[in-house]
């Protein structure tokens, strides 16, 4: 059997392959050779073969058949074998396979080997991929090595201990004694890894944290020495002495100082010193400053120090290096809640970052900008944010739009400004706004009574430009339906009123109905809007025609609406004006969660002989208007519109007497419809207990205030029976 080819040879050969198929063929051939070599239990070339296998593994080919071979290599006495064996173990084995446990004994032996480099290999492997079982078995050995005077091993043992603690937190206690004099080491490697170990322990256990607080003075001293000491070639990085150690110490100080006045006080001076003396021309200095700022903000530092920290971040924002700017924005975002005023001072720089080319920086700047908006800067900020909305990536638009709506709601200086802002968002990012913004906007518009004419005019003009953005179209349709009369009569005060005829308006609305760009929901909106205009416009015939056409629409929703509207025209024309009246001011409801608003078109049973009702009832002058006194409750995310229905599901609402005067008694009874529990049946009994007849009894129902997304509420009456007291 010829000697297996060398590793470098194989690499060279594989790299000559011109196609994927060629490479695969070479690999397969070599794998076959390696497999037979393994089968022959060849000790001499096992190392070489496993190395080749590792190379092929990195190219993406399966190498699991080499796992046991790695174990054999680890068990070998030759250092070369061990080196490759441990590397193979770290690459090919993982704790999910039981095979890895076979390593435990080898590692145990190697941890006690006479050669420190072998011990090092074992510690490295254990600290890198040791499973919980392995850690449990070998923790004692690691603890022993943590106490050795050999700094080469001590530093590795410390990090290995970190891994053991991460895997088996209960073992943390056993490392406590060994930590006693870790910080008195001179060796930077040991110092660094010790600080990491202490950090890990403090993060995991509040008891350890209190225990190690006494180390603060020592840590401060070490840090001071690093800063004050002269040039040390061994640890120098661009003029700074051991920045890695400095950063780790600062991080540990952060944990120790958090929430503790004494510790925070003890580290105050050194933090100020680091903050002011660190060279900022290179990344390494800024890395230390960054860590310092994080520490200052987290501990109980005095206000002067905090301002210093924020100013450092402010300087970072102006740095040419975008990494530094990114880090500054991230940190400012963390501190904006607690140190709001200090961050406000850097507002203009932050807003400039909105124009940065880097996506991550833009996002951070956007989030931070929203956090900084307040009543004083709203106008200026909104200008910038709207500009940003125009030009940003689609990924940002939804969040930005939502943020703008929220900010506008909180701090709008005037109603007109508010509506203008919303209009701007709808026209620039209309397709990205969230679903619940449509009902919110409608509510806002309805409640801004004096702006109705202005709003409908602007929305109409926007529709003329572009009908592709559905939220915009929906809000516009709704408004035109409601305030179309204002539009046509040219009543706008805020700006130059436009001349538009009823036919033009109906053209636009009908255009929405037929356009391919309109979604079914939008079509529903525009049909309803057209219907509403029947009481505001005079072109009744045209509207009737449109409505009747859609009575045979394929879209079931549209069809139902059209049929019901038709019925209104044909049979209930007298009710039409009342039903299609202007919507009243809506009370603001707060919705739980950020739920998608589901509208439930509320329809009860079809009308039966309502005409008879009118015939039979002769009322007197008293015209009681019965209002449904339903409890107003917020809609749950995705749930029914009116909680009325929810109530009925759980409790039975007892019957109530709504009116009892002059011999007319009107009673309400409530029950759920049997086949469809979503339908509530309210039965109204009107009783005449007088001797005389009652004539001109008029029944009217008012729309409950809880509806904030009305398209059309259709109330059909089920006429049951009534008694005339004889």
């Amino acid at each position: 059997m010829p000697a297996p080819i060398r590793l470098r040879e194989l690499i060279r050969t594989i790299r000559t392959a011109r196609t994927q198929a060629e490479e695969r063929e070479m690999i397969q051939k070599e794998c076959a050779a390696i497999r037979s070599s393994f089968r022959e239990e060849d000790n001499t070339y096992r190392c070489r073969n496993v190395a080749k296998l590792l190379y092929m593994h990195m190219l993406g080919y399966p190498a699991h058949f080499g796992q046991l071979e790695c174990l054999k290599l680890i068990a070998s006495q030759k250092f070369t074998d061990k080196r490759i064996g441990y590397l193979g173990a770290m690459l090919l084995l993982d704790e999910r396979q039981d095979v890895h446990l076979l390593m435990t004994n080898c590692i145990k032996n190697d941890l006690n080997h006479s050669t420190q480099y072998v011990q090092g290999l074992a510690l490295c492997t254990l600290g890198c991929m040791g499973s919980s079982e392995m850690c449990r078995d070998l923790a004692g050995e690691v603890e022993k090595l943590l106490k050795t005077s050999n700094s080469y091993l001590r530093k590795k043992a410390a990090l290995c201990a970190v891994h053991v603690i991460r895997k088996v937190p209960e073992l943390m206690e056993m490392f406590l004694p060994a930590t006693k004099n870790l910080l008195s080491e001179k060796n930077h490697g040991v110092l660094h890894t010790s600080v990491v170990l202490l950090t890990e322990m403090c993060e995991r256990s509040p008891d350890m944290l209190s225990h190690f607080r006494k180390l603060v003075p020592q840590l401060v001293r070490i840090l001071k020495n690093l800063i004050m000491s002269g040039y040390s070639p061994e640890h120098d990085v661009s003029g700074i002495s051991d920045p890695f150690l400095q950063v780790r110490i600062l991080r540990l100080l952060r944990i120790l100082g958090k929430g503790d006045d004494d510790s925070s006080e003890a580290m105050n001076d050194i933090l100020a010193q680091v903050a002011t003396n660190t060279e900022t021309s290179k990344n390494v200095g800024n890395a230390i400053l960054y860590e310092t700022v994080l520490t200052i903000m987290d501990i109980k530092s005095e206000s002067g120090l905090r301002v210093l920290a924020i100013n450092i971040l402010g300087r970072f924002l102006l740095n040419n290096d975008k990494n530094i700017r990114y880090v500054a924005l991230t940190s400012l975002l963390k501190t904006v809640q607690t140190d709001h005023n200090a961050v406000q001072r850097h507002r203009s720089t932050i807003v400039d970052c909105l124009k940065d080319l880097d996506v991550s920086i833009k996002r951070r700047a956007m989030e931070l900008s929203f956090a900084l908006v307040n009543g004083n800067n709203i106008r200026g900020m909104m200008k910038e944010l709207l500009y940003f909305l125009d030009s940003c990536d689609p990924d940002f638009k939804a969040d930005c739009a939502s943020g703008i709506f929220l900010a506008a709601e909180k701090y709008a200086p005037s109603k007109r400004w508010h509506i203008d802002t919303i209009m701007r968002v709808l026209t620039t990012a209309g397709s990205y706004v969230r679903d619940d913004s449509v009902p919110n906007l409608i509510q806002l518009i309805t409640n801004s009574v004096e702006m109705h004419a202005y709003t409908v005019q602007r929305l109409y003009k926007a529709l003329l430009d572009d009908i592709s953005q559905q939220p915009l179209v929906q809000v516009a349709s709704w408004c035109i339906g409601e305030y179309g009369d204002l539009l046509v009569s040219g009543q706008c005060e805020e700006e130059e009123p436009i001349q538009v005829s009823e036919d033009e308006v109906l053209d636009v609305l009908e255009g929405l109905l037929v356009s391919n760009l309109s979604t079914p929901v939008t079509r529903g909106y525009s049909l309803t809007a057209i219907m509403k205009l029947s009481t505001r416009f005079s072109s009744l015939n045209r509207i009737k025609k449109v409505v009747s056409i859609y009575g045979s629409s394929i879209d079931v929703e549209l069809q139902q609406r059209a049929v019901e509207y038709n019925a209104l025209f044909k049979k209930y024309d007298h009710m039409r004006p009342a039903l299609l009246e202007r919507m009243p001011i809506m009370e603001k409801t707060i919705f739980s969660g950020d739920g998608i608003f589901t509208v439930c078109l509320w329809s009860v049973f079809p009308v039966l002989q309502a005409n008879d009702l009118l015939d039979l009832l002769g009322g007197n002058d008293v015209v009681p208007i019965i209002q449904t006194t339903v409890p107003t409750k917020p809609a749950s995310a995705g749930g029914e519109l009116l909680d009325l229905l929810g109530d009925l599901s759980l409790t039975v609402i007892p019957p109530m007497t709504a009116y009892n005067k002059n011999g007319l008694i009107i009673e309400f009874t409530f029950e759920r419809s049997n086949p469809n529990p979503n339908i509530a049946v309210i039965t109204i009994h009107a009783t005449n207990s007088t001797e005389a007849d009652m004539t001109e009894f008029v029944f009217q129902a008012a729309v409950p205030k809880v509806c904030s997304f009305p398209s059309c509420i259709l109330i059909n009456l089920l006429f049951m029976s009534w008694c005339i007291g004889t």
């Binding site: 990344n283 990494n323 700017r325």
Partner: protein, 161 residues
């Protein structure tokens, strides 16, 4: 640090060091996705990005991308220094390192990394010490491959620092 990946501009993996337990399949998936994401970045963009719930720090040296995944509390800027330190170590060891060195001597690249980082954290902050340790270990390897009784030599080399 959760893992470190080295890959070429064509997306070929040159080194992968994982400090968290994941199946081979998961590792492959993460590698593929992350390589794609990083290669799609334009040159002017910053070295940090958020990916899944990790922070990714990457830097390009010649034709190789060095990419680390760190946790939320880790300092991104110092991670850049860690990457830079590793490159310096490779450079010193190979003498003006290039991608081919790492391709043909990948196991050495791993050995150097394992003397610099352990469990995702730096174990030695002195460049000199890391290189010295590698040098000694290489010597030990040479000695052990020559079938001389290496035990005696091992004891000599294995003097505590």
């Amino acid at each position: 640090m959760q893992f470190m990946l080295l890959f070429s501009r064509q997306g070929k993996l040159r080194l992968q060091k994982w400090y968290v337990p994941l199946s081979d399949k998961e590792k492959k998936k993460i590698t593929r996705e992350l390589v794609q994401t990083v290669l799609a970045r334009k040159p002017k963009m910053c070295s940090f990005l958020e990916w899944r719930d990790l922070k990714i720090v990457y830097k390009r040296y010649a034709s190789l991308y060095f990419c680390c995944a760190i946790e939320d509390q880790d300092n991104e800027l110092i991670t850049l220094e860690i990457i830079h330190r590793y490159v310096e170590l490779l450079d010193k060891y190979f003498g003006s390192v290039c991608e081919l060195d790492i391709i043909f001597n990948f196991e050495k690249a791993y050995f150097i990394l394992d003397e610099f980082l352990l469990g995702g954290e730096a174990q030695e902050t002195s460049k000199k010490n890391v290189l010295k340790a590698i040098e000694q270990a290489d010597l030990l390897q040479e000695v052990s491959t020559q079938s001389v009784t290496s035990e005696h030599l091992c004891k000599c080399i294995a003097t505590p620092q």
